[in-house]
């Protein structure tokens, strides 16, 4: 069935079990990471002999990425290729430790603080984990309110990334500095989307991408305000909502609130169309200038997304029925391998996840690859096999050491699904939804899945109501990530509008379905639960076990943990590392000193990295990990404490 690497078989009814006759089925033998070039004297000599343009280039920190991400590369500037990469989350996130022993409801408010932007999704994932543990679920209106809250959070998130974080790499200033020949061509190239965005020449569009002063930059900033205004109508406060509780939301919504939200969501119909037209022009222009731009940040389309936006009449909060309610989501869960959808089962998505720490500043908790057979949860609550390295079995044991590319170099773990490196983002949810197909995608007034595209048919605003369709691209890379994210503004607006209409209907009918939350008691016996709800930038899960009314173990797995991950014990790089290795250096430089690394940065930023989940520092054993650590040749000079 869906697993190629994990030792899990399926019977004729589709039930999963461990492959019989394998003594220690999850055990593995670590594949040593390649020796860093700086440590491999012979290779270094050969490279330098061949050409003198081998350079170590470290991006520390990666700017326009919140939190703490540094990136190490060795590049061959003559052959215009990247020879070595290492992605480093440079700070420790300690929420798992601070949550132990607390009331499970505290997790909603504490985990929200994991990010200064996506507090709502962390709070919601916590609430979902609580609901599974408590055996409750919200009434339909509570689910719809949650759907609205999180859809407007994404309508905040996508313009931020596109306008404020990614777009500056394609602005007049950046292009003039790195590829002046492209700027000259932009001045002569007419756009295709003028009727929608109003720009006649590419150069005019690129000028308005300029940070702080460009009209498109400022417009993106404005749309963060519009979404935030809608958000506080339900959440009370942005970004840390005050109303997310187990069993729904602790506020009331009336027609006036819905009207206020509707007014704001409708503004994204035209803004989304304009953003799509802009990114279509950016992608098409660069591809025409040089088709190799398709290879910037390319890697196999291996993606994972737990989905979000529940069906108010299907969601029951249980793990037993997770496959059924998951598939009713507006963004259904799914995993793609090489671009093909291999599962839409939330249980299989969950069962296939493992976190490895061979290259991370943590102690291994399960027998150093041998998979201690006595681990706590060999199966999930539905009886599916779980790995010793599954989040429900994970124990967070920080172990700060020196940085070495061959050994340990990141505070991010290496999450894998079926032992494959997965990327995740807004694009992964539209990809999965598109591949779900017309037979299986839920009914929606505005969204239609074709099997290889997503048709978005929103009400007309001011702009012409031309058909909008996002198609799965042939080549997956940085430009396509940005393009797909632009379509996700409209995808999300459609979901918000669907849910607004449901909310009006529920208000009109009244009765128990229109209640906002469900009463509950915190159970005193042992329970396990998981909140499966993607963040604006992709995969997010909160795994929790409780006993005697308090949290026993809590594990947060974030999108950037997947994408910023270091190498795994099987020798595979993390998504950033893999994408940058595949990136051709198309920047125009005459001397090595002129190299700015714009193509590397475009590749990394296209993932929408956001590291606030790791923005807190850890001090232990007299050593402090700080954000300015990794700009020395650690590999060449040997281990050292930060």
């Amino acid at each position: 069935m869906c697993f190629k690497n994990l030792p899990i078989d399926f019977d004729a009814a589709g039930n999963a079990s461990l492959r019989p006759g394998v003594a220690n089925p999850y055990a593995y033998v670590e594949t040593p990471a390649p020796t860093p070039i700086e440590e491999d004297q012979e290779r270094m000599r050969q490279l330098v002999e061949r050409n003198g343009s081998i350079r170590r280039v470290d991006f520390d920190p990666i700017t326009r990425v919140a939190g703490a991400l540094a990136f190490h590369t060795v590049v061959d500037l003559e052959n215009r290729e990247v020879l070595e990469t290492a992605s480093m989350a440079t700070l420790f996130r300690g929420y798992e430790i601070i949550l132990q022993g607390r009331d499970p409801r505290d997790a909603i408010f504490i985990s929200s603080r994991a990010c200064g932007v996506c507090g709502g999704v962390h709070a919601t994932a916590s609430a979902l984990a609580c609901e599974m543990c408590f055996g409750i679920h919200p009434p339909p209106m509570g689910v719809v309110a949650r759907n609205l809250l999180l859809s407007v959070e994404y309508l905040y998130d996508h313009p931020i990334h596109l306008s404020l974080l990614a777009a500056p790499d394609f602005s007049e200033q950046a292009v003039r500095e790195t590829n002046p020949e492209i700027w000259a061509r932009a001045e002569q190239t007419r756009t295709r989307g003028r009727a929608v965005h109003g720009y006649e020449y590419m150069s005019e569009l690129m000028t308005d991408l300029t940070p702080l002063t460009g009209k498109l930059y400022l417009e993106g900033l404005h749309y963060t305000r519009v979404a935030r205004e809608a958000y506080v109508l339900i959440g009370g406060k942005y970004p840390h909502p005050q109303t997310v509780v187990p069993g729904g939301v602790s506020t009331t919504i009336d027609t006036s609130d819905l009207n206020e939200i509707m007014l704001r969501v409708a503004k994204y119909f035209d803004y989304g169309r304009k953003t799509v037209a802009i990114w279509n022009d950016i992608c098409d222009f660069f591809y025409e200038v040089n088709p190799k731009y398709k290879d910037i940040g390319t890697r196999p389309a291996n993606m994972i997304d737990p989905g979000q936006w529940d069906d108010p009449y299907a969601f029951d909060g249980t793990y037993a029925n997770a496959d059924a309610w998951g598939r009713r989501r507006w963004a259904p869960p799914g995993v793609t391998v090489d671009g093909e959808l291999v599962t839409t089962s939330l249980q299989m998505l969950n069962a296939g996840v493992e976190e490895f720490v061979e290259h991370s500043f943590y102690e291994e908790w399960a027998g150093n690859g041998q998979g201690n057979e006595n681990y706590k949860f060999p199966t999930d609550p539905a009886g599916n096999p779980l790995s010793p390295w599954h989040p429900w079995n994970k124990v967070t044991i920080p172990k700060p050491t020196g940085t070495n590319w061959k050994d340990k170099y990141s505070w991010s773990t290496a999450p894998r699904w079926d032992r494959l490196a997965m990327e995740t983002g807004a694009y992964s949810r539209i990809w999965v939804a598109a591949q779900t197909g017309p037979q299986n995608y839920r009914e929606s007034r505005f969204l239609h899945s074709t099997g290889n595209s997503m048709q978005i048919d929103l009400p007309k605003a001011d702009l012409p109501n031309d058909p909008i369709e996002w198609r799965i691209p042939e080549t997956w890379g940085a430009f396509e990530r940005n393009r797909a994210r632009a379509y996700c503004i409209l995808f999300t607006a459609g979901i918000a509008y669907d849910n607004l209409l449901l909310a009006y209907d529920l208000l009109r009918k009244g009765g128990p379905d229109a209640k906002m939350s469900t009463p509950y008691k915190v159970p005193k016996d042992f329970r396990m639960g998981v909140g499966l709800w993607g963040a604006g930038r992709g995969y997010l899960t909160h795994h929790m076990t409780i006993d005697k009314g308090v949290i026993e173990n809590y594990q947060i797995l974030t999108p950037s943990t997947f994408t910023a991950s270091p190498k795994d014990p099987f020798g595979n790089p993390g998504p950033y590392e893999e994408a940058v290795m595949a990136t051709p250096l198309l920047e125009n430089y005459e001397k090595p000193e002129d190299f700015k690394g714009i193509d590397v940065l475009r590749a990394i930023r296209s993932f929408d990295p956001c590291m606030p989940c790791t923005t807190h520092m850890h001090t232990g054993n007299g050593r402090t990990v700080s954000r300015d650590i990794v700009s020395c040749a650690c590999g060449a000079e040997g281990n050292h404490a930060h």
Partner: protein
């Protein structure tokens, strides 16, 4: 006189949580024209919130911030509204919209977008310990009452 007192910082970061701890403490004393707000969120959101409200006569910010001084050092001053070069402002805005919370980030971003009143006061404290957890380092713990009064005194005309 309308005054806003804002505590800047992350919770659960020992001394780094000083600002939000102070906003929790001082909220009990709010009233008579003094509002108190937990500014444990990103500065672009704060900027937009300020722009939606009537202009304050004064804003008082309190935060722990590492500047290489003796831990526990308390410094109160009137901010001079000076901004760094444009490139740094851009980086600060990018950090802000992706969730970074810090006193300097908030001052620069809010000023860059013109949301501050003329009168901005700051009480900043040199932290000794910004590791994960609750509570404060002994050196900051013993100054909490002094810091609270330093902030509150700045709400007076």
């Amino acid at each position: 006189m309308r005054v806003l007192v804002g505590g800047v910082g992350y919770r659960f970061l020992r001394d780094g949580a000083l600002g939000v701890y102070m906003s929790d403490r001082l909220s009990a004393r709010a009233g008579n024209g003094v509002e108190v707000e937990d500014l444990g969120y990103h500065p672009v959101g704060f900027t937009q919130n300020l722009q939606d409200r009537p202009v304050y006569d004064r804003i008082v910010l309190v935060a722990a911030i590492e500047r290489g001084r003796e831990p526990g050092t308390v410094k109160a001053y009137r901010w001079d509204h000076a901004l760094p070069p444009v490139k740094e402002i851009q980086e600060r805005v990018s950090e802000a919209v992706t969730g970074t919370i810090s006193l300097d980030n908030l001052l620069i971003v809010t000023e860059a977008f013109g949301a501050f009143p003329d009168d901005v006061r700051v009480v900043e404290v040199e932290p000794a310990d910004e590791s994960w957890g609750e509570g404060f380092s002994p050196v900051v713990e013993e100054k909490l009452a002094e810091i609270e009064e330093a902030v509150w005194s700045l709400t007076k005309p």
